[in-house]
């Protein structure tokens, strides 16, 4: 079900680390893993924001709960990925269910504010957890254990594991959006009153969508904890939620690859620009402003304008 550019990108992503290893630039493999993880996080936000029309300003909280789940389990001696990663997804899904249940009763700006508030509450909660580092954060003793002879400590192995998981999640997302559930959610985004009038339980659909996005973010968080070897409450600050939103907008709200493209563009820009100047955020600010004012569809939208993109 993929189109040509997507397959081309996939081939590149598979070949890239082998080339990097050949030229002894393993740092860029690590960097690419980071991009992939944020691609997953941004895509999960795109699910609710772009396709669901729910502007959540607290999405970083689910990233954080997933990351902390892995870190806390590691600190308590549980290092198997088969235990901690599913648990991270589960924990984040549960948090999302609870937060969504309360927040989705509100609309518009109140929804934005209340998701923000909940994210801040979780942020302060983790700051108060002195046993797990509190504000200073928590080091992970090692990366999660996968077994099967796969050692995640190796940058290449880790990259391929992340790549497979992210590609898998994007495939799942596509299936979801094409299925009845996804169609209903998008219809709710377009006109909730009409869907309600037809008889759909809109609240339930939105809540499930919200919870699924939270779970996906939790997986991204688990991978991020492994990538950094370190977690801290900073992961959950509202400015991080803002960054995720920026990624989605940059990439293209409501396009399947919007989150992934946005994350890639953002992180590469940050890396390239910050080598030149400390003030790279100025350029980012102008770019973002320009996009919001003039190019609402983001990078994916621009690409879709030139080729047959998917919406």
């Amino acid at each position: 079900m993929r189109n040509a550019p997507a397959i081309g990108a996939l081939v590149l992503l598979v070949a890239f680390p082998l080339a990097a290893k050949h030229w002894d630039q393993l740092f860029y493999v690590s960097f690419a893993s980071r991009i992939l993880i944020y691609a997953l996080a941004a895509s999960s936000l795109n699910l609710i924001l772009g396709y669901g029309g729910m502007v959540s300003f607290g999405h970083a909280a689910f990233l954080g709960t997933g990351a902390y789940a892995v870190a806390i389990l590691m600190a308590e001696g549980v290092s198997s990925a088969w235990v901690s990663w599913p648990l991270a997804i589960l924990v984040s899904t549960l948090f999302a269910l609870v937060i969504g249940a309360v927040s989705l009763r509100t609309r518009g700006v109140y929804f934005i504010m209340i998701t923000l508030a909940f994210a801040q509450m979780i942020y302060y909660l983790f700051i108060s957890l002195r046993a797990y580092g509190g504000e200073d954060g928590l080091n992970l003793a090692a990366r999660s254990r996968l077994g099967f002879g796969l050692d995640l400590a190796g940058d290449l192995t880790f990259y391929y594991v992340v790549l497979s998981l992210v590609v898998g999640c994007l495939c799942l997302m596509q299936r979801l959006l094409d299925a009845r559930f996804g169609q209903v959610v998008q219809a709710i985004r377009d006109n909730e009153t009409r869907m309600e009038a037809i008889g759909f339980p809109t609240y339930r659909y939105k809540l499930i969508c919200f919870a699924l996005a939270g779970g996906a973010a939790g997986l991204a968080g688990a991978l991020l904890a492994n990538q950094n070897g370190f977690v801290s409450p900073n992961l959950m600050q509202w400015t991080q939620s803002g960054t995720l939103m920026v990624m989605v907008i940059l990439g293209g709200v409501g396009y399947l690859y919007g989150g992934a493209l946005g994350a890639a563009v953002f992180l590469v820009l940050e890396e390239a620009l910050s080598a030149y100047t400390v003030h790279w955020q100025l350029g980012l600010g102008w770019a973002l402003l320009a996009i919001v004012l003039y190019a609402r569809q983001g990078v994916a939208g621009l690409l879709a304008g030139t080729a047959a993109g998917r919406r």
């Binding site: 700006v109 504010m113 209340i114 509450m121």
Partner: protein, 305 residues
């Protein structure tokens, strides 16, 4: 113990009134123009930097405040006319992102001009000492001045919005923008004026809080979120709501920070209590907001009919 409670009450009042200065501008902009403005904290930062610069150049705090108020209002009006005007018709997400972009731009420009290090801003010498309020109880003169300024501004806003024709237009705009425009209110001018006044209030808050906290890049972010919580609690578009909300939040936060660790210390170690206490106090204002939204989804004093 009595002086402790009195002192903490004054502290809460001081913090609450400063929050009010920020929240008043924010709630008007949100209520009348339906604009979520994340760059509001940046205006506060610009105001503080202007005060610090003028004080360093001339030594006069009063002059600095005047220059900062006028300067920030001018910058606010400029922003409104060039960028923000295009966002009124857009959805909230676009507004959030565009003003977030402005926030980044402002931060970087300030960093380029002033550097990353905090800029020194001291209290004016006349107010740098303590004042004896009760026998044996001293309170910093500057903080009393802050309370005074806050109350004066609140009174001024009340008179302006409640008793003048312009205020009537503002209230009409907040209540029902289309109807107000249909009734002949010059909506464009009104919007620009409201934004300018909001920016001026930010500058005053920056001048008052700068000497107490620090004038540094990013100083607007932390207080911005609290200001949003205040206006959601108080009711969007309502100055009265902003005042009550700000005082509520100010008191809850201060009392929480002051007394929760003390309370927790009775059954936890001091280090743990000091970590959990402020964290719980910070959560308290969000719990307050969630509760208000649950019980009265439009806030305590909604302006909209």
């Amino acid at each position: 113990m009595a002086t402790l409670i009195l002192e903490q009450t004054l502290n809460g009042l001081q913090f609450g009134l400063m929050l009010f200065l920020l929240a008043a501008g924010l709630t008007l902009v949100f209520g009348i123009m339906d604009l979520i403005n994340l760059a509001h904290g940046s205006l506060y930062m610009i105001g503080a930097y202007l005060v610090a610069t003028v004080v360093r150049a001339t030594g006069s705090f009063a002059l600095a405040v005047l220059v900062a108020v006028l300067g920030t209002a001018a910058i606010g009006v400029l922003l409104e006319v060039t960028v923000l005007r295009r966002l009124y018709a857009r959805d909230h997400l676009s507004q959030v992102l565009a003003t977030f972009a402005l926030l980044l731009i402002c931060n970087e420009i300030v960093r380029i001009v002033f550097g990353s290090q905090p800029v020194m801003l001291s209290m004016p010498n006349a107010l740098a000492g303590p004042v004896q309020l009760l026998p044996g109880f001293y309170y910093p003169a500057f903080r009393l001045a802050v309370i005074g300024v806050g109350l004066a501004v609140a009174l001024l806003l009340y008179l302006l919005v409640g008793q003048t024709r312009a205020g009537m237009w503002v209230r009409a705009g907040a209540s029902n923008r289309e109807m107000a425009a249909a009734m002949g209110v010059d909506v464009k001018l009104l919007f620009t004026a409201v934004f300018g006044v909001g920016a001026a209030l930010c500058a005053i808050a920056g001048a008052m809080l700068g000497p107490i906290l620090a004038v540094q890049v990013g100083m607007g972010e932390s207080i911005l979120i609290t200001a949003f919580v205040v206006i959601v609690i108080g009711g969007i578009g309502s100055i009265r709501g902003a005042l009550i909300g700000a005082l509520l939040v100010g008191m809850v936060d201060t009392i929480g920070r002051a007394f929760l660790p003390m309370l927790l210390r009775s059954f936890l170690s001091p280090a743990v209590a000091s970590g959990v206490g402020p964290a719980l106090a910070s959560i308290a204002i969000y719990v307050l907001m969630a509760a208000v939204l649950f019980w009265r989804p439009q806030g305590l004093f909604p302006a909209r009919a």
